[in-house]
Symmetry: C2
Subunit: 193 residues, 2 copies
């Protein structure tokens, strides 16, 4: 059964939404992607209302099985983190009102799941998201890649189904998902070259 | 015309709601007060859903003119501040969806408006809220006093109507509101003793 995940990269200025369908064989397909933006000079309640309206619209339009949201930390970007947390609260409550499962993933978890490296930069994440979703070019708007990466991460981390071609536990310290991504990346690289 | 303000002291574990009617002569009357609590071992989305449902219920029941929310700062209480911000986002979006005006006030503004001292402690705030609302005893639950103080603060700070008995600008550095509270407090003290 295909799992539909709506990934959300929360923020007041840029709030990324990405919907991905993931089949049991882990094949991932892009369904929809956007970035909802509000201007910094707009009143806070109007910014949160815009995000509230957008998430309601996307939840209604795509009926995802799961909402995957970036876990916000107070240590980072102190000037914007409060707005990011407020936006994430609005998005999470919207899913909860519909009885949709909510999952939180840290930026490190997302980077590790998608690239095999928890310290990967934005370019590497975008590159792998483009490959995993079999896109001709990076998803636009560019900021949307993180939301798609969150959706992919959730499906991969959540999956416990045995996977053909898995070589079992290795001593590398990678999770099964990381190992599979590494293999997929290697295969994609061979094809491109 | 009476102004009805719903003050919200946001939080996941304890979210205070206080509704106050304030007449043009600044007489303030308690309309309703509660604290919505969710347990720390409850899933985040269920905690935010509980707050979402409660604020919707209170906005529908009391139809306030204004929602006054505590402005959350990332510097304080790092361990709980993200949840507090998420709760405030949910509450603010609920008011914005109904077209209700939203105002943010800092804890210092609230303390200064209600007690005349921006560094006042919880006991002093509760004491003044009890007096201002002409209650026989402190409002219960005890945590609700901050939400009521927020509502009172909003009405006082927002008001620009001339007030009988005002002595005009003094050199004390107090705002007109702070001066009036100081007078009200002095009067209340004289009555009590």
């Amino acid at each position: 059964m295909t799992l539909r995940v709506l990934g959300v990269d929360p923020g007041l200025t840029r709030c990324g939404f990405g919907v991905v369908d993931i089949e049991p064989n882990r094949r991932a397909t892009l369904v929809g992607v956007t970035v909802v933006g509000t201007r910094a000079d707009t009143a806070l309640e109007q910014r949160l209302l815009a995000i509230s309206n957008s998430i309601d619209e996307w939840l209604d339009r795509y009926s995802p099985d799961v909402l995957a949201v970036e876990r916000v930390f107070s240590q980072l970007n102190v000037s914007t983190v409060m707005g990011t947390a407020q936006a994430s609260g609005v998005v999470i409550a919207a899913a909860a009102r519909r009885g949709i499962t909510v999952a939180l993933h840290t930026p490190t978890e997302v980077k590790a799941a998608v690239t095999g490296n928890g310290q990967a930069d934005k370019t590497a994440v975008t590159k792998m998201v483009t490959r995993i979703l079999r896109l001709d070019r990076p998803p636009t708007p560019a900021d949307a890649a993180d939301a798609l990466a969150l959706a992919i991460t959730h499906a991969w981390r959540g999956s416990t189904a045995p996977v053909a071609g898995s070589r079992g536990q290795s001593g590398s310290g990678q999770t099964a998902a990381q190992r599979l991504w590494a293999e997929a990346e290697a295969k994609a690289r061979r094809k491109v070259r």
